[in-house]
Symmetry: C2
Subunit: 234 residues, 2 copies
DNA sequence: GCTACTCTATGGTCAGACCACATGATCCCT
DNA sequence: AGGGATCATGTGGTCTGACCATAGAGTAGC
């Protein structure tokens, strides 16, 4: 099968990336230049650029100046999140499986962080900040949930594995809309938010105490409990 | 910020997918029809279609007849695999992190399968077939590694979580080239393949025996040992 | 100096044309 | 009638060339 033109362009750009001729923060040549250089039409170059954009490899901006054009970025989580949203939309990724994956990844991450933080409690600062922010009253459900999501992602990040972080971020992106919708219909948000707060604190305390096993179990219970209560994934 | 035209098209298609007006196996209207229906140019429709293709949501084919055109598919693993390849190429996903993620996911999967297969050994058939296929001598390293990869993915699949399966498949896609290249330079393939075979059998036996803990540990050791020996991710 | 204007390079979009391909209908010869 | 060759049709694939929208950089005028 003959490669499509835009795939040829993608292959050339991938070569440049792998060889280090294109670095993060750098810019792709202008579309017209690329088209001329590769002997293809600008339309084909644009199709390749759309794919790169979807893959979180570049960001485009119009205008002139240093920020314009196609800039190389590194956002591995973005395409995975988009993929999860698309396949959730087409009903081919059961929400229950997302929950299962979250439990696996987050309990592992909590365990890792518990160990890593022994003797270096300062690495937990970002998580602590979010925890305290969530304690403030007078917050809409949406605001709380945004912080909540960041808290979970932050814990996963602290485990220090970029792949895990990307998958975790992707799942949050994919599931966010479902969570917001489900909570909006939940009858007793006050009770729920109180419980979520106390569970978050329990998780954090287990991590601070260096008790990885407990941290993992607490996270699992927290996640499973939330989805069971809200009925997401049923 | 005003949405770009192709994003508008994507949003409309997403709506159709979510509402069930577009089902897997169904077909998108022709590009010219979509362009007319949405009042945009065919080029913009094509950019949207490229993104959908990259996201594993559709597959395009030229010609006429029932298989031509843009068909809705459900391949959540494809975009994640592509994303991992791109970001490995741009040196922003350390291979070591991929290995870590594999260990986490596969040991969990092995544990799950061990439990699930108690009393229902027939579900392990696909894995057993691959195991036996890998035992046949007179096989090139590439052929063996292909079966090897499928064996690992199959075990993950048997755990029955689509998200985990997608992530696992994605990681295999992303890492395959590195493994093949590393093995091609390995001095004593015969010894290595013998060890891989025996380790695969050990994993499978632990699963058959329903010993989840042992299965998980054996898988972890197997993966870590392979990458340590071949020097991938160092 | 500062403001307002113009220039220029960039991506964004469009219209229209033609090609390549696969299927299915049609025609013609046997 | 049967079967092979041919053509018609509908699809994506690609190209050309044009124009618009935006944002920075330069420049003229005050």
């Amino acid at each position: 099968m003959a490669a499509k033109t835009y795939q040829v362009v993608l292959a050339k750009i991938e070569t440049d990336l792998a060889a280090g001729r294109l670095l993060v923060g750098g810019r792709l040549p202008a579309e017209r230049i690329l088209a001329q250089r590769y002997g293809v039409s600008r339309a084909s170059v644009r199709e390749a650029i759309r794919v790169l954009e979807a893959m979180g490899v570049i960001r485009t901006a119009v205008g002139s100046g240093p920020d314009a054009g196609a800039t190389v970025i590194a956002e591995p989580a973005a395409p995975m999140g988009a993929a999860m949203r698309w396949h959730l939309a087409s009903h081919h990724l059961p929400v229950a499986d997302l929950v299962g994956a979250r439990v696996l990844i987050e309990s592992w991450a909590a365990e890792q962080v518990s160990t890593a933080a022994v003797g270096r409690p300062e690495i937990l600062e970002p998580a602590r900040d979010l925890l305290l922010a969530m304690d403030s009253p007078d917050m809409t459900a949406a605001e709380f949930l945004a912080l909540d999501a960041r808290f979970h992602v932050t814990l996963a990040e602290l485990a220090g594995n970029v792949v895990i972080t990307a998958v975790m971020t992707a799942m949050r992106d994919g599931i966010q809309a479902y969570v917001t919708a489900a909570v909006a219909q939940y009858p007793d948000w006050e009770t729920m938010v109180a419980r979520l707060r106390s569970e978050h604190h329990a998780v954090f305390q287990a991590v601070v105490a260096g008790d990885g096993l407990l941290a993992g179990q607490t996270v699992s219970a927290h996640i499973n409990g939330f989805y069971a209560d809200t009925g997401i994934g049923q």
